[in-house]
């Protein structure tokens, strides 16, 4: 019985996805493509329309008889995609098919804790809805990237190295009292990786490397986000670089690549050289100004990051490595050294078609990925199951 339920949900999900990607937009086409009977298609499409996920409209009238009815995703169903960083929040309101309606960015301090930070997100959502002329009841999903490890099934933050006061906090609970919406939470770098992958659908295996205050990685394997057994996959910042055993990392180990080659580490090296660099943004500015010491430090960081990536290329054999984060703005300086080390150290078979490039989406990668992930989730069996309990209004 429960297996039957799961298969019915799978059929509903398949129909919704076929409409979403434009493969079939009429009932007759859905019957033809799926092999389901017309009656079975009718029953399922009626349900998806009644629950507000699909709308059916008349297209151009033909001379003979009734005009055909065309199905599409409801434009009323909205996603709020949120990228929480250490010092900023970016939020975007989109439709299910990814069309952006409104977007904004604001400075925050993530260490203010969950209540204050998420209250800010709640206010921002209200502003975006007002700007787009929509109501809270139109929101069917929040999709939130946070700068720390997350148990994706429950949306709980787990032992984050930054994010004071968030350990064990279950983010969906905050929104449950305020909206009737699905809440997805994931690590911010996972969201960014999914965003970059969504723009490169011809690829199957992608590593997104964020070089900002820290260093992290999002992994796409066989077209699927790889979170790992406990949601910790891609946490490459603490892979050791040998020859740097004197550098203490905040994790308690020594020589971690994040402690040696991140934006924060480069800035510290510049301060030790007497230059006024508070963080990664100052590093970027100094390189733009032509400061040779800053440039030298960035190139060294490129070699060190390249060493770690060469091993990961041999292991994972990706189609592409995409570099993001504030330091990746320095692509000319950073990429040359990273590429040099990877091509020298990884196996030829693993690098012969490897693309190594900087982010196409830049600072929007996080919200882009969050919106795409929510859309995919809402059309999945799990999303459809929830929809049957709580229709889109």
């Amino acid at each position: 019985m429960s297996d039957l339920g799961a298969r019915q949900l799978a059929a509903l999900s398949e129909l919704a996805c076929l409409v979403a990607d434009g493969t079939a937009t009429r009932r007759s086409q859905l019957a033809q493509v799926t092999g389901l009977s017309r009656a079975a298609v009718a029953q399922r499409v009626d349900l998806l329309v009644a629950r507000g996920l699909l709308v059916e409209t008349e297209t151009v009238a033909t001379e003979r008889g009734r005009p055909p009815l065309t199905l599409r995703l409801a434009a009323d169903a909205l996603i709020c995609a949120v990228d929480l960083g250490a010092t900023h929040v970016r939020a975007a309101l989109t439709t299910l098919d990814g069309a952006p309606l409104a977007e904004t960015i604001r400075e925050i301090d993530i260490n203010d804790g969950p209540q204050r930070t998420l209250t800010g997100v709640h206010e921002l959502t209200g502003e975006l809805l007002a700007e787009a002329g929509r109501a809270p009841r139109h929101l069917c999903a929040f999709s939130i990237g946070v700068p720390g490890p997350v148990e994706a099934e429950t949306g709980t933050v787990i032992r984050p190295p930054i994010m004071q006061g968030w350990d064990g906090y279950r983010i969906p609970d905050f929104f449950a009292d305020r909206y009737d919406a699905t809440v997805l939470v994931d690590n911010d770098v996972n969201m960014m990786a999914f965003g970059e992958y969504s723009h490169r659908r011809h690829l199957r295996h992608l590593l997104y490397i964020k070089v900002g205050t820290g260093i992290g990685c999002g992994i796409i394997s066989n077209g699927v986000l790889h979170r790992g057994a406990s949601g910790a996959a891609g946490d490459i910042g603490h892979i050791p670089l040998h020859g740097h055993e004197d550098v203490l990392c905040h994790c308690g180990n020594t020589g971690c690549v994040e402690a040696v080659a991140s934006g924060a580490a480069i800035a510290r090296a510049l301060r030790e050289a007497g230059l006024p660099a508070a963080g990664g943004r100052d590093v970027v500015r100094m390189v733009y100004e032509g400061n040779p010491v800053a440039r030298r430090q960035v190139r060294l960081a490129g070699q060190q990051i390249g060493e770690v990536l060469a091993s990961l290329v041999s292991f994972h054999n990706p189609d592409a490595i995409v570099l993001g984060g504030v330091i990746a703005q320095l692509h000319e300086d950073l990429l040359a050294d990273i590429r040099g080390v990877i091509y020298r150290r990884a196996l030829p078979l693993a690098t012969r078609t490897l693309a190594i490039e900087t982010s196409a989406l830049g600072e929007r990668a996080g919200v882009e990925g969050a919106a795409r992930m929510a859309a995919r989730h809402l059309l999945s069996t799990e999303g459809i199951e929830r929809l049957l309990m709580q229709p889109v209004r």
Copy 2:
């Protein structure tokens, strides 16, 4: 039209898989579970029976009316699973549901090249068929693991570091003249990883590490074998260990973990200490005999392999690491050091549920994985498509 074809194939594949795993073994159950009409189920099941993949038999007669007909996989359809090593070939004949009919092992030299080696496999297959009382026409798949990189789509060996004379050789061509069977070829370590995974289906992410003459890794991500962009994934033998820059590897780089900590490397270290060790098997024997120098070298190798694995655990966050290969027979000595380094160096979140153990299947992991992979392939849309062109006889 081609999309319609693909969906029909998917429906056939789904029906075959439901019968294979026992979810539905009657036509009425298949209709109920899939939501397909009875007529659609009948048409598809008739096709699968006519092509020889399924058989339909009467079960116990009931008092009222005709006994129900039960579907199952044809016992006539056989798989020949082959594990080619540098110095041995192991071959097993199994049914589609994995039941072993006959199995054998023989010494070879892979450097004799493809013609001589595969002629040996061909002869071995004949012996296995004779032993099981079956004919070549019953073989619907060969599934072969080889000790080198493979382009899995074409079954072509690509730049193998061992396997002299095999570079660019397309293995399925050898069998095409001799059998009407699908030929799957993959790296031996991938086959072993799939074998171990098949025995631990509750896990989603598994790394299989083979420590033999070389060091290699097979990767399961989200329940799927991860081959990477060019089939090179898991080639971890050439990840550098720092502090060993004086050790030259056959790949032309220095300090590769395979050059420092493999069975061949441990044997070389023992020879340098004046002990008569030709390869990994001698190392194992000496440790069993209680030789403290051999034991010391194995423990050192465990620490060095552990260093590489700690980084891979942070990156991939597997549920389990399974160690195989000849050196893994020394589990007490090897595991303690590998575990020690991983728990010390990888992040706590990534190790809190991590199992680190030795192979459950031992030397049978390769043929077990090859057989399972072939069965999965034969029931997939691709396998069904081929079946429609070439029925099982």
